[in-house]
C-alpha cells in the first residue's frame, strides 16, 4: 500500500518503519516545522515486563479511517506533508509500532496536528494490540470505547 498522494503517506506495513525515509518525505514539504511522534514498545508497565507486542488490523477500514484523520488534520492546520504509518504483526521492545509526522510552515501547527493524529488514531483506527509478557502470558489491551 503506497502513498495516497504526493503529500500524504498513509500505510499499514509488516516491516520495521522506515524512519530515515519518513524524514526525507516530510522535509520535502519545505515548511519550517516537522513534528514526528513514534509510539514505541514500553518495556515495563508497573511490574509487568513486555517482551514484544502483536498488532492486528482490519486493513481496509483502518486505512480508510487513517485517511479520514489526515483529511481532518489538513482541514484544520496548514499541513504541507503528513505521514501516518502503523505496523502489524510482531513488534519488539525498542521498535516503533506507529509513526505520525507533519510538516507545516510554523512549529505550533506541526505539534498540534501530530498530537491530534496520534490521539485520534488510538481512539478510532481499527487496529488491536496484544502484549506478550516475559512470563509467556499474553493479553489483548483493553481500552475505553470512544465513538
Amino acid at each position: 500500500m503506497a502513498a495516497s498522494s504526493p503529500n500524504e503517506w498513509i500505510e499499514i506495513m509488516e516491516d520495521e518503519l522506515p524512519t530515515a525515509v519518513v524524514h526525507e518525505f516530510l522535509y520535502a514539504g519545505e515548511g519550517g516545522g516537522v513534528c514526528i511522534f513514534a509510539g514505541t514498545t514500553r518495556r515495563f508497565t508497573g511490574e509487568k515486563e513486555t517482551v514484544r507486542l502483536f498488532y492486528e488490523a482490519h486493513n481496509s477500514m483502518a486505512l480508510k479511517e487513517m485517511r479520514a484523520l489526515v483529511s481532518r488534520a489538513t482541514e484544520t492546520w496548514p499541513v504541507l506533508k503528513a505521514v501516518l504509518l502503523h505496523r502489524t504483526g510482531e513488534v519488539a521492545v525498542g521498535q516503533a509500532s506507529v509513526i505520525v509526522g507533519v510538516t507545516t510552515p510554523h512549529r505550533d501547527d506541526a505539534f498540534l496536528a501530530s498530537r491530534f493524529l496520534i490521539d485520534e488514531l488510538k481512539k478510532s483506527v481499527q487496529i488491536w494490540k496484544k502484549e506478550v509478557y516475559r512470563n509467556g502470558s499474553t493479553e489483548w489491551v483493553e481500552t475505553d470505547w470512544e465513538s
Binding site: 509510539g39 498488532y55 492486528e56 488490523a57 482490519h58 481496509s60 477500514m61 483502518a62 480508510k64 502503523h86 509500532s97 506507529v98 496520534i118 488514531l121 488510538k122 481512539k123 478510532s124 483506527v125 481499527q126 487496529i127 488491536w128 494490540k129 496484544k130 489483548w140 489491551v141 483493553e142 481500552t143 475505553d144 470505547w145 465513538s147
Partner: protein, 81 residues
C-alpha cells in the same frame, strides 16, 4: 440468507477463526446478530455493549437490516498506537 463475519483480536481468538459464514433469517438487524453471537460466546456477551458492526467498511446502525451476502466486520474497542 448467508453473511460473512470477520472477527479480530479477542473475538478472533474466541471464535477460533477470522472469517466465518453464517446463515441468518431474512430481516435480521445488526443488534439481533450481536445478540445471537452473545448467546454462544461469552467474549461477545462481555463486550456486547461496545461492539459495533461495519458492512463494506462502513459502520452501520444497530437497527439496520442485514442483507444476503453482506461482509460484516465485528469491531471491538480498538487499541492501536
Amino acid at each position: 440468507m448467508i453473511v460473512t463475519l470477520r472477527f479480530f483480536s479477542v473475538l478472533r481468538e474466541a471464535f477460533g477463526a477470522g472469517v466465518v459464514e453464517v446463515e441468518l433469517e431474512a430481516g435480521t438487524t445488526g443488534a439481533e446478530l450481536i445478540e445471537l453471537l452473545a448467546v454462544n460466546n461469552e467474549e461477545v456477551e462481555k463486550l456486547q455493549s461496545v461492539i459495533r458492526l461495519a458492512v463494506n467498511d462502513d459502520y452501520i446502525d444497530p437497527t439496520s437490516l442485514l442483507s444476503d451476502g453482506d461482509d460484516i466486520a465485528v469491531i471491538t474497542p480498538v487499541s492501536g498506537g
